[in-house]
Amino acid sequence: MYNITDDQVDFILDDIEKRGVTTEDVRYNILDHVCCIIENEMKGESNFNEFYRNTIAQFYIKELGEIEEETQVLLTFKNYHAMKRTLKISGITSIILILLGSTFKIMHWPGASVMAVLGLGFFSLVFIPLNIAMKFANDKEKSNRLIMTIGMLTASVATMGVLCKIMHWPFANILMMSSLLVFMILFIPIYFVVNYKNPETKFNTIINTTFMVGAAGMLFALVNLGHSSKTHENSSKQEIHKTMEAPAAETEHETVN
């Protein structure tokens, strides 16, 4: 029986990880299995490296990562499909309800509020949390999970803010403002830094970030304007007056020069 040294065990474990087996349990199972084969089947005169390479090659068809993939598929298969189905149904339901709700609202038809509440509520409390769960099932990368979670949570809170605004419920502005602030201060910078590093996603990251900053900025301006139009009519008039004067003063200044 061949005796495997600690260094050889480290080498095998390291190699298994490099070949794409990331789950610790699977890695240690393969390690023990390879060691057992080497101990029981390797002849004294054989070369360790060569024997190891031949042994590990029996574990897969194309690459060792197949074992990891197959394990993940078997572990997540059942829930994954149920989740995907719920995601589709909840997505379609909320889109239909939101579209109908907004149309009814614009036309002042009855039933608009019920549809808006159901549609936005479904979107915010079912569809978005399910998206986060799906990301966790699909993606093992921690940074991607973090980005998705922050983004989706802000989207969820912003949707609740919009709902409160439409329904004239309290806390609408605070919900929208806080989510937009988190979106702009936390989400966009993290998204940009993480994805900009990857040459494949670099270009799209710049475009997406520009769109997101633009959209979030405009929404933020709208939220700010929302409550001041009537209550601070005088002060806003004064502000407009000031801004009207300012360019005039500048042009005078230029002509003097």
């Binding site: 065990v9 349990d25 199972n29 393969i30 023990d32 029996q58 394990t71 598929v73």
Partner: protein, 114 residues
Amino acid sequence: MYSSELIKGTLKTIILNLLKNGNKMYGYEITQKVKELTSDKIQITEGALYPTLHALEKHGDVITEKVYIGKRVRKYYILTDQGKKTVSERVNELADFMNTMRFLLDLDPAISHV
């Protein structure tokens, strides 16, 4: 040696059946035992064995016991009470399936009335 497609559908049943009677076994031991019992006709590949063992553990049919051997960790698989039920269900289902296949493929005229 049988094709992997044939073995894949019966792998869970084979593993669970080996673990019944309170046997605890580890991965390599399972492959060797199956090889020995079937005179090398069934050789379980590692690529199929470990994903199945992890799935069985997740579904609660087996539990594991870790034994540290130097820097290695050996996981012994032990059948749970739920696993004992699963094994009898699966063995019965497979036996029934084999009878049906015999009839379907017309292999044994004696039981073709089943």
